[in-house]
């Protein structure tokens, strides 16, 4: 019988404290009844029979979970809201981290690799904190009020559902936040002198020549329009004809601006002394121009993609 007591104690250890005594007592009574039935069979009851019965009942943890099924950390009713909140908050934190790391990069002699490391380090710390905070918040909500349908789910109308469209019409949050991070990065790179002190400016380095820099400044309204466009997408989350059209115009303008920048010669402000014996300056200028042409291919691809989508929607 010692084996039975050990088994019950093992089950009780897996149970919440307030249910241990009662379930243990009941489990004991049930096992004793089964053992009585076994004892009535020819040959009587042996230790091997007890062990076989307990083995058949299952692992103590399994038995405990049958009595008190494990509860999910976050109730399924909250899951869509939880995932959406997580995505939005992590997206916003990414934007803030891009702004912070870019400012630090421009005001120091940090290399590009160090800039990426700074960005990833900062972002992973933010993610850890936000993930823990949001998960704890939803865990508390799930404990206090396990299932809840949002106001939106209670008061929806079938007539308000969007028309049936191709799968690409739904705009993913990831795409929107990637675009926003890119625009923010560009804005900080272009207008960095505005929020730097004289000392920081003296330490800062900017690779583009004055002509190229002036062109970048002229292009900054485009970046602001890009941010407005992304916020519009964030609000609608569904490609409409107007939205596609504005995206085509915006990306076409970006292609022109990037190609104009690539055509500006000289493009980079390089100190010959610093690069002597390392790389040929002409090659560096050429590599920068080619890189910009490659970069221009991305908005160009979006222009072509959105024109095709416009045609499909028509």
């Amino acid at each position: 019988m010692e084996l039975v007591q050990r088994y019950i104690a093992a089950v009780q250890r897996e149970l919440p404290e307030n249910k241990r005594d009662e379930i243990g007592r009941e489990l004991n009574a049930n096992i004793m009844d089964q053992l009585d039935a076994l004892a009535e069979q020819p040959g009587g009851l042996t230790d091997a029979d007890i062990a076989a019965l307990l083995k058949q009942m299952g692992h103590p943890r399994t038995v405990a979970q049958q009595f008190v099924p494990p509860q999910p950390l976050i109730s399924p009713g909250y899951m869509p809201l939880y995932k959406n909140t997580l995505f939005m908050v992590l997206g916003i934190l990414f934007l803030l981290q891009v702004a912070d790391s870019t400012s630090a990069w421009l005001s120091s002699d940090m290399s590009f690799l160090l800039y990426i490391k700074h960005l990833l380090n900062g972002y992973s710390q933010d993610v850890l904190l936000a993930f823990t905070g949001i998960t704890l918040g939803f865990w508390l909500m799930s404990r206090n009020k396990p299932a809840a349908n949002s106001q939106c789910e209670q008061h929806w109308q079938p007539e308000q559902l969007p028309a049936v469209g191709p799968h690409w019409q739904h705009i993913s949050l990831q795409d929107i936040f990637t675009d926003l991070a890119t625009y923010l990065f560009l804005l900080i790179v272009i207008w960095y002198p505005l929020w730097f002190s004289a000392e920081q400016l003296a330490n800062s380095r900017f690779l583009f020549t004055d002509n190229a820099y002036q062109l970048l400044q002229w292009a900054s309204p485009l970046v602001l329009l890009g941010i407005a466009n992304s916020l519009w997408q964030l609000r609608q989350r569904f490609w409409s004809r107007h939205m596609l059209l504005s995206n085509v115009v915006l990306n076409a303008a970006f292609v022109v601006a990037i190609l104009l920048l690539a055509a500006t010669q000289p493009l980079l402000k390089l100190e010959p002394e610093a690069w002597r014996g390392v790389l040929d300056l002409h090659q560096l200028q050429r590599a920068a121009t080619i890189s910009l042409v490659i970069i221009a291919m991305f908005p160009l691809w979006e222009v072509l993609r959105d024109l095709w989508r416009l045609k499909k929607l028509h």
């Binding site: 007592r25 009574a29 009595f67």
Partner: protein
């Protein structure tokens, strides 16, 4: 269909019906082991890992009353249908009979088509 798929489907099919069987059996008081024996005699085989937690859940929902009694040298917890449980059993029985009749027609038609 594989044996695992069949087992899963059979489990799903039996899950709701077991509640009905347990409630119906507990018109008379039973302790865990005697309830299992009773169900087995009536042709419903159910393992203890399913039955005992199910009975506890029904008691927590106040569909069953329970009390500890001494007998044959040790204590046992006896369960019996509560007033609320009896009302629910009545409603579930009606539901089951309607469902059974509808399914009978459906399955009858299906077996005739097969023939």
């Amino acid at each position: 269909m594989t044996a695992a798929q069949l087992d899963k489907m059979r489990l799903e099919l039996r899950r709701g019906v077991l509640v009905l069987a347990v409630l119906a059996s507990l018109k008379q008081p039973h302790y865990g082991y005697s309830l299992r024996q009773q169900l087995q005699q009536d042709g419903i085989d159910i393992d203890e890992g399913t039955l005992y937690p199910l009975v506890r859940r029904l008691a927590e929902q106040e569909l069953l009353t329970s009390e500890w009694r001494q007998g044959e040298g040790r204590e046992r917890r006896y369960y019996q249908l509560s007033e609320l449980g009896a009302q629910l059993l009545g409603q579930l029985t009606d539901e089951w009979q309607q469902l059974n009749s509808a399914l009978g027609n459906l399955l009858g038609t299906a077996s005739q088509e097969k023939q």
